[in-house]
């Protein structure tokens, strides 16, 4: 199957790893990601004018017309903004987050296990916009836990998986991000597994020696695409 692809700004820069691993996993399952030509920044959370913000994503949807029907957006902020603009526009596209597509791939059942996660502890951390607001949230709010336990790993952090890491305040009030990130770090154990570039940066910055990894890396490890986690 072919999907339209909206990488968003951070995946072309600091979150390049999320970009390359998403493409790799889709390819591994026989699906193509076709980048929407000349996509515009979604505006993330930086614009106070709701119309201006929505128009960014609406213009991206216009560019996707005739190009694709389903759009995959890995960055949670991009995913939320695109999905809202699509709902506002009558919903002619399916805006998908990779976690929902992975569910559809039925990865938990279909993966040929090369490395299991036996004896390892993980904290799957979703953060905010993957789970909120309701209208744009991903479908399976336990998909990372399901995946980890299915392959023998243990999970921690149920109570903080949807708390805020404060990433949005990182370059404004750093102390606030540090305090909020530490609430997550100090109340959990094992490797922190995330899907959001901003959460990755906030948790990694304040995590001392804890490992912070993208969920994609975990998938690729189990699939045997990488030998080290």
């Amino acid at each position: 199957m072919e999907y339209g692809y909206y990488p968003g700004c951070s995946l072309t820069g600091s979150a390049h790893r999320l970009n390359s691993t998403t493409k790799k996993i889709f390819k591994r399952f026989g699906h193509d990601l076709k980048e929407i030509p000349d996509w515009h920044c979604c505006g993330a959370f930086e614009y106070g004018n709701k119309n201006e913000l929505t128009d960014f994503s609406k213009s991206n949807l216009k560019k996707a017309h005739g190009f694709c029907n389903d759009i995959v957006a890995p960055c949670p902020a991009c995913y939320k903004n695109l999905k809202e603009a699509n709902q506002d526009d009558g919903g002619s596209f399916s805006i998908l987050h990779p976690l929902d597509v992975f569910e559809y791939f039925d990865i938990v059942e279909s993966i040929d296990i090369k490395h299991d996660l036996e004896g390892r502890l993980f904290t799957p951390y979703y953060g905010c916009v993957l789970l909120r607001p309701k209208e744009t949230a991903i479908k399976n709010k336990d998909i990372m836990e399901n995946f980890i336990t299915r392959f023998g790993g243990d999970v921690d952090g149920e109570k903080v998986k949807d708390r805020c890491c404060g990433g949005n305040q990182f370059f404004i009030n750093r102390w606030a991000t540090e305090k909020l990130s530490r609430l997550i770090i100090d109340n959990t154990h094992g490797d922190l597994v995330v899907f959001c570039p901003l959460c990755h940066m906030a948790l990694k910055t304040f995590s001392e020696n804890r490992k912070v990894i993208y969920f994609n890396d975990l998938l690729l490890y189990v699939m045997g695409e990488t030998d080290k986690l």
Binding site: G13, G48, N49, V129, N168, Q169
Partner: protein, 167 residues
């Protein structure tokens, strides 16, 4: 006395005008807030409280609704993280983070980083991170972000900016 009355009236009109602008910018109408019954669920779940700062989104909402002044240094205006916990728990799903963003924009509250972000979008249609970091370099140096660079090495990648065609 007449002068003082005129001044008060002028101030009230200004606040009302400002509040109307903020509400409109966030995509709401004033009457949309009339459904808020003051249950304060938003206050009980607000992330800003985790910073040991009292934050009450409901109070901010009723100030906008009633035409009262909201201070520029209101804790939510300064520290809202856009976590949407308030919206998620609100019986009416009121999108308070978006109202706060509209407030910040109307009053021109913008960090150097936010300015650089928008600057990049204006030039290229996308955020070019090296530009954002260069533009906020003085702030980042002054605030000691440099100490985190060893942790950020995995984020470094090289690409030239790309100017998109069409909006």
């Amino acid at each position: 006395m007449q002068q003082t009355d005129n001044n008060i009236e002028h101030t009230i009109l200004n606040i009302e005008h400002l509040n109307k602008k903020i509400i409109g910018m966030s995509g709401y109408k004033r009457e949309d807030f009339s459904v808020c019954l003051g249950c304060k669920i938003c206050a009980s779940v607000c992330t800003v409280n985790d910073l040991s700062i009292d934050a009450n989104p409901q109070e901010l909402l009723s100030s906008l609704f009633l035409g009262r002044t909201v201070e520029k240094n209101h804790p939510l205006v300064l520290f809202c993280t856009n976590c949407y916990r308030c919206t998620h728990n609100c019986p009416w799903g009121i999108r308070i983070p978006e109202i706060i963003r509209a407030f910040r924009e109307t009053l021109g509250i913008e960090s150097q980083f936010e300015k650089a972000f928008k600057g990049a979008v204006k030039i290229w249609g996308r955020v070019y991170e090296p530009y954002v970091f260069l533009k906020s370099a003085t702030y980042m140096l002054k605030e000691g972000y440099i100490r985190y660079v060893p942790k950020w090495l995995e984020y470094i990648s090289f690409h030239l900016p790309y100017k998109i065609k069409g909006r």
